[in-house]
Symmetry: C2
Subunit: 203 residues, 2 copies
Amino acid sequence: MMLFDGGRAPNPRRVRVFLAEKGIEVPMTSVDMGAMGHKAEAVASRNPLRRLPVLELDDGTILTESIAICRYFEELHPEPALFGRGALGRALVEMWQRRIEFNLFQPVSFAFRHIHPAMKEWEVPQVPEWGEANKPKVIDFLALLDKEFSSREFAAGDAFSIADITGLIAVDFMKPARIVVPEEFANVLRWYRSIAARPSAAA
Amino acid sequence: MMLFDGGRAPNPRRVRVFLAEKGIEVPMTSVDMGAMGHKAEAVASRNPLRRLPVLELDDGTILTESIAICRYFEELHPEPALFGRGALGRALVEMWQRRIEFNLFQPVSFAFRHIHPAMKEWEVPQVPEWGEANKPKVIDFLALLDKEFSSREFAAGDAFSIADITGLIAVDFMKPARIVVPEEFANVLRWYRSIAARPSAAA
């Protein structure tokens, strides 16, 4: 198999952090997204949406969408379980993965893509008003998360999961989006520092 | 258990269609979203995000996010499998569920929420320019889907899945969003008519 990777972009990183947590090594081809490599033939012929990451299996089957790629590896290598354990555990991981994706990662991405000058060619048209509208959504959701983290260690319960990985890439993406976690959210900061200190975060 | 349902809104409907496909009956409480019932205490005390659907289990555990609720029922009642079969099958369903969610359902929702006058209190601030920017995204993705459906019957392969349910609610949501499937997308229209004709679509 071959994983077409996109460097610093958050979705490719989500898969690399996941693989590092699992201890799985996968052959990788680095695509230079800064040079728009994801729009070139090597990616476009495999993913008509021209996005990364892309996993190509040995029989030519293509998997895209970072979470779908992670779920495939979860099925092949169930331990450590990063999508939860048992019916309810897996549902709770799904819930928190989606809550964090839609209420933190996406608003951060919209703020970055619709405001940052470097994104002019990437997000057409940029709608700065929409970017700005997303910044308070980020803060509102961090307030909710801060209450949640007052009573547990990880996003979906007592075990680290894919929901924490989505949280990690979202908070790290706040830097280029120029949004800061308010110091008053002490529980969020404790959680973030603990997951950012895991070896996988360097992936 | 109790499912707090939101009537015509697409996410509550996604769960009802799923349950109908599974043949599962769940006690339901109808919440009048038109009267902002999802902002009232019965929902807000269970879901701080004040959205529907919400599933409350007998022990008081709360599950939100339509896909998380569906996944919970998939675990309890595996047949018919609506999240795919086998490692690769499940990954492909995840891929298509996400592709359709992010590239069809979400752009349709943004077009509706940011343009429709009835959504002024729901989406604050409305950014009409962002709503308009999403309309061509919908058409572009339908063009991609039309090619896909030239060689297979359902979104994620030869079996009906949650990805088709997300597609159904997305296409039906195009009506209030005032976006029409172009007649030239004959494969999309054939697929849509076949899933809209299933008894579950009336849920």
